[in-house]
Symmetry: C2
């Protein structure tokens, strides 16, 4: 900056303004690059220190993205505006830009960046991968700056999509969502689901940064260093791309980021050619170094090669403008309306409950995978089209998007056929590690759907959701219990799965009956009962019919 | 053909040969088109008849693909060579072309085609969707001409990929694999996994036929009738595409198929613009007709509009050339070699067992999702590189590809981290409905992997595979039991899941110990036992340690 001032004082008046600006800019860039180079050196030191101390982790996958992430978090455009706007004291601040490490194994870099930003001490960083440290091997929400737990590849972009959807359509805030992607993980189909849906919704606030370091876990990726091949695929899906030939050259990276951040009406992917293990000679661009830390001796040698970093170097973040998220006015919760003995499918009751709840929960959002006329999520869509998002036939991305919305404070209901929700098992599992507040509804559960056959029957869904820690699994037997349990699901913070039936069933309960989570009901009892039939959902009706037959045969049984 | 002969007799000698050929060809095409038009009319009648009789099903999604499938199965190129070569009396004949309905809900068309080919009577066709009929709502292997069960969208291409991989690299036969795809299902990420892997392996024998009927279940698809948008995406992934502007015009469809079948070194996608419900005025190109049969009255009206079909029209298929699949010479099964008390990880034993078995099972194939150095499938790869296929980080397609290989008679072992295999839940579930002979191995199971964190831990995998009907779930506790159980898995026809551990464990068994499927072992017992510790896999070692501690405290416990 000193140099810049000198130029200004001595030459400004005699030179043409444009020439002066150009030189000022160059000087600024030069200074900025030197500062970033120092930051990069320090980041590399921290990455090596924490992984060698832990004796495990992924230093090489972290080293390839050092310049990309340093430039993003601590760099600025040619006008001096920082790329990344974040209030480091308030990670959950609605105006903060979001940064997701989809390649979660680059966690050493992730933590090192937050150490540079002053939010972790070196001592804390060295607890990496140790018992009780929030700095887990792959980021989880135990660390306050983790937007979403990652580590199962190919999920971060979908989560980012949810956050960008929130920015554009719900909170209506100008924050940007950045997602660091690995080249290996671009082979996951879920990525392409996210890529297509982000284009569909014109998410100009979503910026992917692809770290094309060529090497996967056990060999070269499908496209190696061919960044054009990556670009062709992504452009064909409707994204703008920006290519960076050398992802370790700050000048190129800064220019690339500036181009990527030109606000447009669609998402942008910055694709950078990098070297895995960059800066550590014995591992740089070499196969066989995935997920391997350096030994103490190797790390010592590598640190000597890197050279001394300016002591005590830190970098600061700039807070974004304080804008207020869009508010929606709240109405009054209406009561479910049913006639005694009415025949209503529980999926219909699910849709009705969503519509009732939508009026009192302005933060409520509903996603469906192109079957909303079957799941009956369409009843919410008709009432609140601005809070319903069609996710098309792409269940995995639907769940990741829901997670992104949920992390941004939305109450998200996600529906599809129970049979097809299982497709997003890995995404549901990972959502749990992000402590998500997500509600799932699987329709057409069980064999009662009949002639459509096993491919459409949700038979595994209860077991599936029961494996998810703390997930509440609900299987209502009639329309009233469904409506009340959807209310209970909305009120419960955490993950809930509700299973609905395709066919109509007779009402079993009065609308004033209460349904606390975790309870059960005795529907038929007598002191002469000789057995208890335990049933749930549609089988309750079968159990009642069986009890009736048994009663006629002189055997009294209880139905729970 | 009569007309063609007349031309030949009267004009052949006076006209130029090329002109003569052109006219002959036109006449031939004209006759072929008339015949196909009649076949198409009959197919439409059958589609309406069976769905209206069933009172459910997807007539409109079937009607859009009538010309595409009639031309494929019963049409020929301009030289008169049939596109589809199939011996209808031997569905499993290795030289048959394969046809998979990835859009399984178009089953009425699928069955109608086989009725036309003389393999179903009209009476049998009318059992569609009825109890005990092999003609299920979505095709399963209960019907002999179903290549693979479909109905969960976005899986057929991956299955076809497996069959095409078999044709090119294993059986080395020239059969082609055709996959009928819906436009809606192109939003499933698994499709793009298959698209990229098919390009990677240069599968010229794989031909996708995309029925772009514009409408999904509850609205327009992402790209509507924009077939160029579909083509851009697929070409960017390395496929050749052939566009058909009107998928109901036989001339265009036949030309398109001829172009698609020019043998190249990569897969081809024929993309045709069609109308959902084509030929039935009240439903044609209209939203709201997905999965809805016509009423008796509507069907009557539609049949009148279609007009009479030539009575008793049938179509025959041409059998392919009788070529012999490639044979691999068989060696001798070696014995596992371990020293008593040795420390070996069960994942290592899995890899060793694969290598031993590969020598005696020429039909054995191993797939892995870019983690073969972790799962140790790499030991097989080193021994038999021609029977190992890298599936990259794309688990869903890996399972569908394995299914395709398995249906073509291969013994397929599929491995990844247990945590990431769950990503292919829906594909595993569907493989079961194809009666697949598939062996899965999930490595890095349980919390014992430690510092990598929950994203990498297989915690749900036992529950997952236990929901799959008849699936055998194995969790060996040491290297010997692992090797023997891999042998047992290979010998067992059906689905098997084997769970392995990352860390080394001590050998518990002698190499001559036997491990029948379904058994268990008592590792420590005494008449003074006061309790039994039941454990599996790595927890057996913990249980033995606990028993040791308890014994020192004077309490004897059994370990099972």
């Amino acid at each position: 900056m000193r140099l810049k001032c000198l130029y200004r004082i001595f030459y400004r008046k005699t030179w043409k303004s444009s020439e002066c600006n150009r030189i000022e800019q160059e000087v600024y860039m030069h200074e900025s690059n030197s500062r970033l180079t120092e930051i990069a050196r320090r980041l590399r030191q921290l990455i090596l220190a924490c992984t060698t101390e832990a004796g495990s982790g992924h230093p090489t996958s972290s080293l390839s993205a050092v310049e990309l992430m340093a430039a993003l978090m601590f760099g600025a455009d040619t006008k001096g505006s920082p790329f990344f706007r974040f209030d480091p004291d308030t990670p959950n601040y609605p105006n903060n830009d979001r940064l997701i490490f989809s390649k979660g194994h680059a966690s050493p870099l992730f933590y090192a960046l937050w150490a540079m930003a002053g939010k972790l001490s070196e001592r804390e960083l060295l607890t990496y991968r140790k018992m009780n440290s929030p700095l887990e091997g792959h980021p989880t929400r135990r660390f306050a700056y983790t937007e979403a737990a990652t580590g199962s590849l190919g999920q971060g972009l979908g989560v980012g999509l949810g956050m960008a959807l929130n920015a554009k359509y719900l909170d209506k805030l100008p924050y940007r969502t950045f997602v660091l992607l690995g080249d290996s993980e671009m082979s996951e189909g879920a990525q392409w689901e996210a890529v297509q849906i982000a284009a569909r919704y014109g998410l100009g606030g979503l910026i992917g940064i692809m770290d094309v370091n060529r090497l996967g876990q056990c060999g070269e990726t499908m496209f190696g260093h061919d960044i054009e091949a990556h670009a062709r695929r992504i452009e064909a899906f409707g994204w703008r791309t920006v290519l960076v030939e050398d992802g370790h050259d700050f000048k190129q990276v800064l220019t690339g980021l500036e181009q990527a951040l030109v606000v447009g009406d669609g998402p942008v992917m910055l694709i950078a050619r990098t070297l895995k293990g960059k800066g550590v000679a014995l591992a740089e661009d070499k196969n066989g170094w995935h997920g391997k830390p350096l030994s103490q001796e190797q790390a010592q040698e590598a640190l000597e090669q890197l050279g001394e970093a300016t002591s005590g170097i830190t970098a600061s973040l700039t807070a974004p403008e304080n804008l207020v998220p869009e508010k929606i006015h709240v109405g009054k919760l209406s009561e479910p309306a049913y006639e005694p003995g009415e025949q209503v499918a529980s999926r219909e009751a699910y849709g009705r409950a969503l519509s009732r709840l939508g009026a009192v929960h302005p933060e409520m959002v509903v996603l469906d995978a192109e079957v909303s006329n079957s799941t009956k999520a369409e009843l919410f869509k008709k009432e609140f089209p601005e809070r319903f998002f069609e996710m098309f036939v792409a269940e995995q991305n639907m769940v990741s998007t829901a997670l992104g919305l949920s992390i941004r404070g939305k109450l998200v209901f996600v529906s599809s056929f129970a049979a097809f929700l299982v497709r997003a098992y890995d995404q549901v599992r990972m959502a749990r590690y992000s402590d998500a507040n997500l509600k799932f509804c699987g329709s057409h559960a069980g064999v009662s759907i009949g002639e459509d056959g096993p491919s459409q029957m949700g038979l595994e869904d209860i077991a599936f959701f029961r494996t998810i820690l703390d997930c509440v699994v609900l299987y209502p037997s009639d329309a009233v219990s469904t409506e009340r349990l959807v209310e209970a699901a909305a009120a419960h913070h955490g993950m809930v799965y509700l299973r609905t039936t395709r066919g109509k069933t007779t009402l079993l309960y009065d609308v004033n009956e209460r349904f606390p989570l975790g309870g059960c009901k005795i529907l038929r009892e007598d002191s002469a009962d000789r057995a208890t039939l335990v049933a749930a959902g549609i089988t309750v009706h079968e159990a009642l019919a069986a009890a009736e037959i048994l009663a006629k045969q002189g055997t009294s049984v209880r139905v729970m």
